[in-house]
Structure formats: C-alpha cells, structure tokens
C-alpha cells in the first residue's frame, strides 16, 4: 500500500469474484450471451469489459462483442479547464442499433461520465437497451444515474478517492480508498 492509502476495499480474489458475479447477472438478465455488447469506458472500464467478456464466454461458450469508448469529446466540463484533455480513440467495430449495450466502468461517482457515454453511444446508433455495470459505486451522484450491476457498494467521503488498480495497467489487482 502506498502512503496515501487508507484502506484496501477489494483484494485480487474479491475483485475477481465481483466480476464473475456481474458476468452471471448480465447473462441471466439478457437470457443468454449472444445479444449482449459490452462497451468499456476508457481506460480501465475497457479492461474490465474485456475481463467480463471473457467470463461470459466461459459461461456461455460464445464471446460477446466488446468495444472501447472514449468520452472526452462529450464531457460537460471542457470549457472549465485550462488545457484540453487528450482525446483517445473510440473503437466500436459492431453495429449498436437494436443491441443490448452494457456500459462498463471502474468507479461510478457523480454520474457525469456515464451521461457523456450515453450521449456518445447515441451518436453511434440507437441501442435497444443501455445498462450499466460498475466495479465500485462510491455514491455522491450529481445526476439521476443508477447502475444495473455493481461489484461493491462503497460509502465514501468527498475528500477521499477510490483507486482501482488492474494487473494490465498497474501490475496488481486491488481497489483502495485514498485520502485526497
């Protein structure tokens, strides 16, 4: 743990179990895996979407479509920053129209990122249903957004941050709460 870490909320095993449960819940609600498309929100949401996609493949035998969404161009706070955030690319190689799309992100906080993601998705096509899967819901919503699948509910204070570390990016799987 680094000097800023206050508490570990999920360890490697806990994180994996949460994703497994989410995968099962998605499959159950959709009545199968074929129709589902997972769209991860950059950057760590994409990794989680890939992992969930792999788990669904293990459960159902067929891998669902997985895409990556960059929401920078749809953010509502662009004019308030001193310099523009870097734009990354969106890679969604399958049609959105008529699909059940599950947005995947690591931490749900104010809800603004999800709002932007929904606008971005709509510009790419008209999904039949949009659902939301998050690894951690830390509360403090500023918009009326609610997740459909949650790995862990985590009450936090505004001064804290929640850090999701993933093997593919940070060399380790864990979720910690940090002081600002």
């Amino acid at each position: 743990m680094s000097s800023r870490d206050k508490a570990q909320v999920l360890d490697e095993t806990g994180l994996d179990r949460a994703l497994t449960r989410i995968a099962h819940e998605i499959v159950e609600q959709a009545g199968g895996g074929q129709d589902v498309a997972l769209v991860g929100i950059k950057t760590r949401g994409v990794t989680l979407a890939e992992r969930i996609g792999a788990k669904i493949a293990a459960i159902e035998g067929t891998k669902p479509s997985v895409g990556a969404l960059d929401i920078t161009l749809y953010r509502d706070d662009l004019g308030l920053k001193a310099a523009q955030p870097v734009v990354r690319s969106t890679e969604i190689s399958f049609p959105i129209k008529g699909r059940t799309v599950v947005l995947v992100d690591d931490v749900l906080f104010t809800g603004r990122t999800i709002r932007a993601a929904m606008d971005a998705l709509m510009d790419l096509g008209r999904p039949r249903i949009i659902r939301l899967a998050v690894l951690v819901d830390r509360g403090h919503r500023e918009l009326p957004i609610r997740p459909d699948y949650v790995g862990k509910n985590l009450p936090t204070s505004r001064r804290e941050t929640v850090a999701v570390l993933l093997r593919e990016h940070d060399g380790v799987d864990r979720v910690v709460i940090q002081e600002e």
């Binding site: 161009l73 001193a82 310099a83 523009q84 870097v86 734009v87």
Partner: protein
Amino acid sequence: MSWKRKDLLGMQDLDAAEIIGVLDTAASMKEIAAREIKKVPTLRGKTVVNLFYESSTRTRTSFEIAGKWLSADVINFSASGSSADKGESLLDTARNIEAMSPDVVVVRHQAAGAPALLARHLRCGVVNAGDGAHEHPTQALLDLMTIREKKGHLEGLNVTIVGDITHSRVARSDIHGMRKMGITVTVAGPPTLIPAQCQELGVKVSHRLEEAIAHADVIVMLRLQHERMQGGFIPSLREYSRVWGLSLAKLEHCRPDVLIMHPGPVNRGVELAPEVADSAYSVILDQVSNGVAVRMAVLYMLAGSKSA
C-alpha cells in the same frame, strides 16, 4: 500532451511534443468522419470565424467542416484586397469581428505577419490558415499526419520538397515541422526559386530534380504560380514542367514505396503529370481527409479550453 497556447501562428512556435499531441488528437478525430452521424458536441456554443482575405475554397471548406462536425457555429467572412486602399483596414475588420465575441478566428491573408498582428490585438485565439509566403501550419500538420499514417513513423525519413520554395508558405511550414520531428529535408528547384541563405533553415538544397528525389521517402510537389514567368524567375511553363515536373518515367528511379504529396490545387501537366497525380504513389486525397481531422484537432485544442 495538451496545449496551453492562445494561437496557432506557425510551425516555428511548436515543439515536437505539441506536434505529436495534434497528430494523436487528429487520429482520434478521423474516426468521426467514418460515422453515420458526423457530429460530436464538443464545441457546441463556440463560434469560429473564417476570415479569408485570399480566396480559397478548399482550405476554408476544410475548416468549416471541421468546426461544424465539432458542433461549433462557423461564420465565413470573405474580405478582399489589401487593407490600405480598399476600405476597412485589417485591424478595424478584426476589431469589428471581435465585438461579436468569436472564440477562434481563422485567418488567411496575402501579407506575411497578418495573423501575428491580429493575435496581438484580439482576445480570442487566432489560427493562421496561410499568411503570404510565411507559414501554413495546418497544412504542415496534415502533411505530417499523412506521412506518419503511411510510413508508421516520422523520424529518420527523407522528404524532398520540389518547386517554388521562395514564395511558398507550405514549404516553410513543412521544413520547420518536419525538422522538429527528425525528418531530413531537401529542397529542390531552380536557383531563382530558392530563397536567400535557404540552407540555414537546416535543409539540403539541390538544383537537380533526379538527384534530389532518388532517395526520398516522400516527395512534396509545390504548385507553380503562372505569375512566376514575370519577374524572370523561370523562362516558361514548358521549360519548368520539362525539367521540374514529375512524370512516371522520372519516378522509376525513386524508391518503389515513395509517397507523392501536393498541397493542392494541382497544376496537372506542370508540376505533376496527370498519370502521377492519379497513381498509387499519390496520397493527395488522404491529405485532404487528414486536413479536416487536423483542423478539428486544432480547433478542439484552441477553442475548447478557457483561454490562457
């Protein structure tokens, strides 16, 4: 790598990191052109004014599309002539436009230094869309983007720029931008069209076309303006196209994977034989699509942020 500058006046002002920032952002913007709904809300509510003193449909249209795809409101001002004798002075026009609160003014003018003058006097950001023979930074940026796309990298490449270097803003911007990215640049043309002390810009100078393009990875052909025959720069178009024009025969001695680029519009039969312009070597049309992406990236980086 995000930008903290108010204006884009020339490639000379940018460092390599800023250039890469634009190229990466432009690559992301390019995806929008492939969508069914070519719009993102990023610059919604922002106003971009195209102030074009030199007529130019293609560059102006490129900026216009770029702005509109970002949901900005784009206004076209087509002013004509030089300020002194034709009515309103440049500064007065600019002040009038500023009174309408634009977020970015894109300026093309026949006088070198005009965008710099505007940038000093306007609160909003200024983008240089071409000032006299000085700079045309978005052209250089789209040229770099095209080369990087096709070759996969920039550093270590050899690029030869052929034609009227003296009067070319594209040449100057390309030279500055390419050198910053580690490209070796050669300029080639008759001595009358190479400017004073050109080699001090850090380029090789050649007066023989075949020798200059033999090892080039990319050849940038510049447009020859017909006025050059007055003033004794060249004796005739016929001689120019015979000696300096690019034909398929001349390309046989070049690298098989050489790219041909041209800022447009092409004088078919003068600097490029029609067969060359239409050949597989030519990436001229890629340049045009990349132009929109690069201009989207530039507008995003200048117009979106709180001004510095």
